[in-house]
């Protein structure tokens, strides 16, 4: 609902990973001194990125990392807080694109002097962005955000369908991409990219600002997307380049020698190097390292709940406002387990009643840090409706009797659910808390410990594993890209069943024609106000079907080492923008 150049700007994003949700001002702890160059920013945490390839990266940690080495036509701004977080600014594009009168043609003009760190260096051109878009549809590791592009860009859906049938080799995919255009995407010349939409979409620029739409150099055609070879051979257009990548252990970023401040309107480069050290599974140890000054920022570990009372008032600690579904409980409606009990809406409603959401809030630090949710759309996002809370219980503490009654009505007994959970952060506690609630209603659950990097790829987002019933319930998190008019970044990815595919974030494969229809109407609504009413209806309809259990919306507490300065918070990644930070000497 923010107007800008005749466009509305929403977008999506997401992410999963650790914890927490979003936003706040772009505050800084800087004192009087100006920016300082040099030093190594030391980031410590638990698990690796889900994907390093920007075409498939879909976690806050990968997204924040991508800010340092990938480039987009347009991007989100650094700082300014929640209110401007969705207002897209130019990046490789010299200015915001020209939009045709019918709202369907976008023409981007690129800066001529943004370079790849190839040897020899060469400019990033329109064809690189075209390639970046095409790669989203690859059959090996299709982008989790593919539906944003297939929904909007003319011919992308056909391209996607055809690409999915191609051989899953680097050579086969390169051949297909080079011989098959996307009808609506044209690299007119090296500095002009024209994109044709199927219908006006007020949030198109937000989609183009996502990491998915990053430029991809021709060298990437040699590798399977996000494969091991890709991960060792990333090419940078941003201020940093990845010089070391040890999967699950270490990521080192150093200066990209060909990057110029003059050709990058958003990023800066103050620190010399960024070292991400992985494998530290204890949030408390990470916190101790930050306080001792042997590390600067946490990668994916939350500020420990136990430390929050102690840290309140500390200048290096701040809570940033959020609007998230994090965590929520997803139902695998495709699961064959228990005679397909989870396909029964009464069973899902029963579980909605029994979960003690207040206890989940306590796990994450209590009511100051997060609040209980009863709807599919969190407050702060378009379509939020405080009146729609069909399964609300007093204090969010759960209601065992209603659960039992609904299960009896459904005629379901001896439910036993496969419940994978991530072994890092607060996830084990969330899983145990929910499992304890289910026990009260006579539902048993098998808790399956899962490496953080496997949770989505091997369970929730895997079509085959979902259909095999490898999981029944899971507690993922969802964080929209920005705030306000952002339903495309919440409702569409989580609840639109029309684009369910490998890597989908519609984990349970929810597919309701009425919801799908409402989504279409809301997305093409003439303005945000009209869209809002439709999104509210969508929210109500979804909650009636109960494809998820909304749990809490979390704010984001962040603690940093004493020497970190210019801490610009990025709502989209729930972290500080690495390209804005400097280190006090």
């Amino acid at each position: 609902m923010r107007k800008r150049a005749g466009l509305l700007v929403p977008a999506l994003a997401m992410v999963l990973s650790g914890v927490a949700g979003a936003c706040g001002g772009g505050a800084t702890t800087a004192t009087g001194s100006g920016p300082q160059k040099g030093g190594m920013l030391r980031v410590v945490g638990s698990g690796d990125v889900d994907h390093l390839d920007p075409s498939s990266s879909y976690t806050v940690i990968a997204y924040n990392l991508g800010r340092t080495w990938t480039r987009q036509l347009v991007t989100y701004p650094a700082g300014g807080g929640i209110s401007v977080a969705g207002e897209v600014v130019p990046d490789v594009a010299a200015a915001l694109p020209k939009v045709s009168d019918d709202g369907k043609t976008y023409t981007f003009t690129l800066r001529p002097d943004v370079m790849w760190n190839t040897s020899p260096p060469r400019p990033i051109v329109a064809a690189d962005f075209e390639r970046g878009l095409k790669r989203l549809a690859n059959p090996v590791q299709p982008s989790g955000g593919i539906s944003y592009y297939t929904q909007t860009i003319d011919g992308f859906q056909e391209f996607f369908t055809a690409f999915q049938k191609q051989p899953k080799t680097a050579a086969g995919m390169a051949k297909f991409m080079n011989s098959t255009p996307i009808r609506g995407v044209q690299a007119v010349n090296p500095t002009t990219l024209r994109i044709q939409l199927t219908a006006p979409a007020s949030d198109f620029l937000n989609i183009m600002a996502l990491g998915f739409a990053s430029a991809a150099p021709v060298e990437y055609e040699k590798y399977v997307p996000d494969g091991p070879d890709f991960r060792q051979n990333t090419i940078s257009g941003g201020p940093y380049q990845i010089t070391t990548y040890f999967a699950g252990r270490q990521i080192m970023l150093e200066h990209n020698p060909v990057w110029k401040q003059s050709s990058d309107p958003v990023r800066h480069r103050w620190v010399d190097r960024i070292l991400v050290t992985l494998g530290q599974d204890s949030p408390d140890v990470v916190q101790q390292q930050l306080e001792a000054g042997v590390a600067d920022l946490s990668w994916d570990q939350p500020v420990p709940t136990s430390a929050i009372p102690r840290l309140t008032g500390n200048p290096a600690y701040k809570v940033y406002e959020g609007s998230t579904l994090n965590p929520f409980l997803a139902f695998n409606m495709q699961s064959p387990n228990n005679n397909r009990a989870l396909a029964n809406v009464k069973v899902r409603q029963a579980i909605n009643y029994v979960v003690n959401k207040a206890a989940i809030a306590q796990i994450y630090g209590g009511p100051k840090i997060n609040s209980v949710l009863d709807g599919a759309i969190p407050p702060g996002s378009i379509g939020y409706d405080a009146a729609v809370r069909p399964y609300a219980t007093p204090g969010g503490r759960g209601d065992v009797n209603r659960c039992k009654a609904l299960l009896a009505e459904a005629g379901v007994t001896n439910l036993s659910l496969q419940f994978p959970y991530r072994t890092n952060g607060n996830h084990p506690k969330v899983a145990q808390s929910i499992a304890g609630d289910l026990t009260k209603c006579g539902i048993t659950s098998q808790l399956i410990p899962t490496a953080p990097d496997d949770f989505y790829g091997r369970y929730l987002s895997s079509v085959q594993k979902s259909r095999e019933g490898k999981w029944d319930i899971g507690a993922p998190g969802w964080i929209p890209d920005w705030y306000g008019n952002n339903a495309r970044s919440i409702v569409v990815p989580l609840f639109d069943g029309r684009n369910y595919t490998e890597g989908s974030t519609n984990y349970g494969a929810y597919n309701d024609p009425a919801v799908n229809d409402l989504i279409t109407r809301a997305l093409t609504a003439p303005d945000a106000k009209a869209a809002e009413g439709l999104w509210r209806q969508t929210n109500a309809r979804i909650m009636a079907d109960a494809p998820i259990v909304p749990l809490t919306s979390q704010n984001v507490p962040i603690f940093h080492s004493e020497r970190v300065r210019n801490t610009i918070y990025t709502p989209l990644t729930q972290q500080f923008d690495y390209t804005q930070l400097w280190l006090a000497s």
Partner: protein, 306 residues
Amino acid sequence: MSLTDAAFEAEPVHAEVVHGKGPWQLAWERLRRDKAAVISMAVIVLVALLALLAPLFALITGHDPLTQYPETALTPEGLPVGPGADFWLGADSLGRDLFVRLAYGARISLLVGLSATLLATVFGVVVGLLAGYYGGWVDGVLARVLDVVLSFPYLLVAIVLVAAVGASVALTIFVIAFFSFAAMARVVRGQTIGYREREFTEAVRSLGASPLRIMVIDVLPNLVAPVTVLASLLIPTSIVFEATLSFLGLGVDPRTPSWGAILADSTDFYRVAPGLLVFPAVLLLLTTLAFNLLGDGIRDALDPKR
């Protein structure tokens, strides 16, 4: 203490002609005079009582070991309450009763410690007897198997197994037994080789006794002392190993009350709830120390010459 062949050159039971007190009686009397061993036995009895009476404690407190009490056992910020009238030793980070969980945890620890030891002992004795008695290719094959087992990295194999099969108490017991039997088998094998050549075995062999009879009736009774000592030392090792696996989140279902898992939980909270760290740690320390000291005592009692 080396439990090699030379350590147990005690008189073979067969040859013994003792009037009055038998060897076990003598050993018991020596053990009773060992203060450390007596205190250790008392500690073990107390831990066993804790485990046995766990359901009673659950009944008295009204707190099931699995039930979470987020409203009464946690502050609104989610911090566990300390020791008090309702929660005797305080609560864990999910609002479960720490004392009740520790009591149930004692069951897991003792169950795993004792069954893994029993399994390892039986298996180790059988393999050791076979290898030691038959020698030749049987010994060659079995001894190599033992070498392989002994050179396996414990934890790595455990982690892989848990990832492949899924965590369970039975798996934990199996893993511990698998890695412990080899040491037992080695000792038994060494002893058996010694006894195989002794005059009394030669004698029964010349009378036509079967190898099975010689192994079970003639050799095995002589091994009781070293096996008992070794087994009593295996128990604390198994308990610690189970705690290690649980601490790493590999042992049992995360909901199962296990000392190792409770310790793991404490890592995030020990600064605000020190009891979460101190109580299970002390319990684990006391239990393993007691078993170790008792093992030492048994060894000294059975083999006073040392």
